[in-house]
Amino acid sequence: MSNSIKTLAIDGLWKNNPAIIQLLGLCPLLAVSNSLINALGLGLATLFVLVCSNSLIAITGRWVPDYLRLPIFVLFIASLVTIVQMLLAAYRFNLYESLGIFLALITTNCVILGRAEAYAAKNPLRFAIADGLLQGTGFLLVLVILGGLRELIGQGSLLHNAQDLFGPIAHNWGIYFNSDQSGFLLALLPPGAFILLGCLIALRNYLDLRKKSPAQLRSSS
């Protein structure tokens, strides 16, 4: 594994994206992506936890005995999640309500434990922070694209309830394409999330395939 920020960026954002390549953390990805603001809120919370847990684990990793590493990592992650949860409950109560159980479930998000195990425990602090930042951003991007698409198709709006995340200043940020907020309801329901995620994965594979030479494309299809 090369330790340059550039490879980390390519890995986290595209080549080894946690959401559409590793397919980790699908439960929150599918469950709270029903609106752009929910997706952005959960994505940012996950990003924050991932960066903090990666740095904590990079600092303490060498003192943690191998057989105890899982419980200790989970404890770190759980305390960070508790901090995020309390902050949200204090300052963004509506968002806290609409994310519900999935905020607490960030603890069990495999992206975070996966990065702790696979990268942070074995690498120096600054690279662990960069890795957390980039993997978290990769996850956040997919979450936001999925949330935006589902909100747009499902109820014909974008940034509905933006004040839940950005505060009172964002009261009129919402963009509404139809007046009664009715749309293709399936996109808001779980099957719609699965279908759209499948489409995103297919699109990414298609873009990857197109970069290969035509001969390779023919042999692989």
Partner: protein, 278 residues
């Protein structure tokens, strides 16, 4: 395939008389958009286009989708339904012969979940829309005093479907086991419900309304998605019947045929595996 259309013709004519010209318009839109989707996806998959368009399976899907929906719905609904039927349910799973789920029912289920407001109002007489008895039960407005007179068109259409289905069985185009087991299951489970559950519909309504008859003869018998063994077909048909009546009785949806068929389709690999002789 020609004989299948021939057998459906009386029911389609009655449907047109009942619902008027918009029904034919929906049928045309659904057929053309379905063929277009099929052609586009086959082209993308580098597969021959013409043979697949000529086998008539898309047209059958379009017909089965449109007869499930009231003609008063907006015209673009059938395009969305056909997109999900042909692209998602059929071609993404590998095309005709590889699809796990019945395409027409997937399209219908998507529309029913997404646009319930358009799919529950049927035009019963000139310029009068009403919910069918199945919908009325769902809204808690069903009473024993409701007679079948306002809905007699539905009855006639279902009789036409049944006659068409019997013709298909006589021509050995469909297996008699599936419709017989499904209708038996419908009769038994609705009689049981009548004895033991409050607010249940009499047997006559369960058989004569909703998609019971067309489902038993035309939709459940789809050779691709139905079970392939003799015993398996008995199980498959009864499963659809019981599930459909249960969904009508206990869920928030007036008719359960689409969901029952999709759920039974899911069980088909298991049923086939258990009942096939090794």
């Amino acid at each position: 395939m020609f004989k299948v259309y021939l057998s459906a013709l009386p029911a389609l004519v009655l449907f047109t008389l009942w619902q008027g010209l918009p029904f034919l318009l929906h049928l045309a839109i659904a057929s053309i958009s379905g063929l277009a989707f099929e052609a586009i996806v086959l082209k993308l998959r580098n597969k021959p286009v013409l043979p697949a368009l000529q086998d008539g399976s898309v047209l059958l899907t379009a017909m089965l989708l449109v007869v499930c929906m009231p003609a008063s719905m907006p015209w673009w609904l059938s395009i969305i339904g056909m997109f999900f039927a042909v692209v998602i349910a059929k071609q993404l799973f590998g095309g005709l012969g590889h699809n796990i789920f019945n395409p027409a029912m997937v399209g219908y289920a998507v529309l029913l979940i997404s646009f319930p407001q358009y799919l529950t109002q049927w035009q019963v007489a000139d310029a009068v829309t009403s919910a069918t008895p199945l919908d009325l039960r769902q809204m808690g407005e069903y009473t024993a005093s409701i007679t079948w007179q306002p809905f007699q068109a539905i009855l006639w259409i279902n009789i036409a479907w049944a006659l068409g289905g019997i013709f298909l069985i006589w021509q050995k185009l469909i297996d008699w086991r599936i419709p017989v087991s499904m209708l038996l299951a419908v009769v038994i489970s609705s009689l049981l419900l009548q004895f033991f559950a409050a607010n249940s519909l009499p047997l006559f309504w369960q058989l004569g309304f909703g998609a019971t008859i067309v489902g038993a003869f035309y939709i459940a018998t789809d050779p691709v998605t139905a079970s392939t063994t003799h015993t398996g077909r008995w199980i498959y048909g009864s499963l659809i019947g019981v599930l459909m009546i249960s969904i009508r009785q206990f869920s928030a949806y007036p008719d359960g045929l689409a969901f029952a068929i999709i759920l039974a389709n899911l069980c088909v690999p298991l049923i086939d595996n258990i009942t096939s002789k090794r």
